[in-house]
């Protein structure tokens, strides 16, 4: 394949394109002037640690690094770089561009000149297994952290499902054998209000309520449930969670069988929702 793009260091004239690329890639994740704050207004911002890829003068990808002091023990700190947002336009994905952008950032002269000892980043595990671990030799560290969460309202999710475009996109993915979708699923998860999901042939509807005549009820830890999404062997993971009693699934047997048959649709549904929820 002939490579159509080139990678180079960021310059001020790229700001608008990079800002737009980040916005479209990460949707409304921390909206406002997030990118300007995180990079341009960062007192430690170093443009040489930001790489952009361009094709015919158009920015098609970018990766960011932010120089920082980093504590590695109680009393030792080193110069480091926090790997930031990596974005590649959808039509250019799968060609190794992301890897090249990360490489551009990691091999900058700045790294040697400023005696940067390490890179660290918070990356999706699958991406890390595909790129960061084999290609860059990065290792996962186990932090001493417990993360707590609470869903106080499902309003964002409910309003998402009122968006016709999302519904249409979703229904395009209904497998041909699943045209008789007809389910009421109740989610009763820890640290979250109850959520009822109503599927029919033409419509999907979400509401923050405890439905009494649900066909299927899913109970347990929301984090366990969402941790499967985007991973491999979802069915197996789900079964493991049920056997370990982390999740309980109750319902009318024929509905459960039907849901099992339409599993791929539910998986797509959950992944679509997660994508927009970031």
């Amino acid at each position: 394949m002939i490579r159509m793009y080139k990678c180079r260091i960021f310059s001020a004239k790229d700001s608008d394109s990079v800002r737009e690329l980040i916005k479209t890639t990460f949707y409304d994740f921390l909206d406002g002037d997030y990118w300007d704050w995180k990079y341009l207004r960062n007192p430690y911002f170093d443009p040489s640690l930001v790489a952009v890829a361009e094709n015919n003068g158009e920015v098609i990808g970018c990766s960011h690094g932010i120089p920082r002091k980093f504590k590695i023990t109680e009393d030792v700190e080193v110069n480091s770089v926090l790997g930031g947002d990596l974005a590649v336009r959808p039509e250019y994905r799968g060609q190794g561009l992301g890897k090249e952008l990360l490489l551009q950032c990691r091999t900058q002269g700045t790294i040697k000149n400023q005696k940067i000892a390490l890179f660290y980043h918070f990356t999706n595990v699958n991406l890390a297994k595909e790129i960061h671990i084999p290609f860059f030799g990065d290792a996962e560290v186990t932090p001493s952290i417990k993360q707590f969460y609470k869903i106080t309202s499902w309003k964002k999710l409910v309003s998402l499902m009122e968006d016709k475009n999302i519904k249409q996109a979703l229904y395009k993915k209904v497998p041909s054998g699943s045209k008789d979708l007809d389910f009421i699923i109740l989610f009763r998860m820890t640290a979250a209000p109850p959520l009822t999901l109503r599927f029919s042939k033409e419509n999907v509807d979400l509401s923050e309520e405890e439905c009494e005549n649900a066909d299927i009820t899913i109970e347990g830890n929301l984090a366990t449930f969402t941790s499967f999404l985007g991973g491999k062997n979802i069915k197996w993971q789900l079964l493991k969670a049920i056997l370990k009693r982390k999740l309980k699934i109750k319902g009318k047997p024929w509905k459960l069988l039907k849901a099992y048959r339409d599993f791929d649709f539910f998986k797509t549904f959950a992944e679509t929702i997660t994508k927009y929820m970031r």
Partner: protein, 262 residues
């Protein structure tokens, strides 16, 4: 003791950064706070309004004993309570205020990172109806072994008694941006990276990724040696090398608040 809630005032940043560093002193894995960094990271964060910075002060002395930086997104970017103060009492005052703020801005979720050895904070989170989930995965890549070892030697030589030695490390399968061979001179409790490759002393041959995992505390030096992933010459000096490698392992608890994520 009586405490009261304040909102962020100009000039608080220095005290808040100091409190953050003091409270998190025993941890690693984050950026130490300076005034400039704290202002950018918390006060100027687009997700944080002035009202979202909650400060707890001791009423008499006006000493700041805790603070929380709350985002409209529902993220508790930083939460800090002085270890010398009555933490349970302060935490309850703060969480009431935190809940009030999140109700006011009508957020749909709350997320907070808590150190895994901080039982008081965890218990308070559970009392507030929060549940646990897996934190973000953190990955580290070493790009300059010499700089890292030099920095680590500061702590390691307090507990290490390798007298005078020259150690040459030869990294196999090193990435192109990593210097694959370097020598270190240890003398009088100090480590110096030599600008040349020493021809005498002892030599350690090790795969670059294995060496990184030894430093990051993911593999024990003895295990690597037993599995023949660590080759030492001359072999009779094996215990010296293992002791040296043990001493430069990073074994601290790593904790980062959500603010360090991005």
């Amino acid at each position: 003791m009586e405490y009261e809630i304040q909102r962020y005032r100009e000039g608080d940043a220095t005290k808040l950064a100091e409190l953050f560093n003091r409270v998190h002193k025993r941890y690693a894995g984050f950026t130490p706070r300076t005034e400039d960094y704290w202002i950018w990271c918390c006060f100027q964060r687009p997700d944080v309004e002035n009202d979202g910075i909650i400060i707890v002060e001791e009423k008499q002395t006006r000493e700041i004993v805790g603070y929380a930086v709350l985002g409209k997104s529902g993220n508790v970017w930083e939460l800090c309570v002085d270890t010398k103060a009555p933490r349970e009492q302060i935490m309850l005052i703060m969480f009431e205020e935190i809940n009030g703020y999140f109700r006011k801005v009508n957020t749909d979720r709350i997320v907070i990172n808590v150190p895994s050895d901080d039982r008081v904070m965890q218990e308070t989170c559970r009392q507030m109806g929060l549940a646990e989930q897996t934190p973000s995965h953190m990955f580290v890549g070493i790009v300059d072994f010499e700089a890292l070892i030099q920095a680590l030697s500061k702590k390691s030589f307090e507990r290490m008694s390798v007298s005078k030695e020259i150690i040459t490390v030869k990294l196999l399968n090193a990435r192109p941006w990593i210097n694959p061979d370097f020598s270190m001179k240890i003398e009088n409790g100090k480590l110096e990276i030599l600008p040349y490759l020493a021809s005498d002393g002892l030599t350690v041959n090790v795969d670059s990724d294995i060496f990184a995992s030894l430093i990051l505390g993911k593999t024990k030096p003895l295990t690597a040696f037993v599995k023949r992933k660590l080759k030492i010459r001359p072999l009779r000096k094996i215990f010296r090398v293992l002791k040296f490698l043990d001493s430069i392992q990073i074994d601290s608890l790593w904790f980062y608040p959500l603010a360090d994520f991005g």
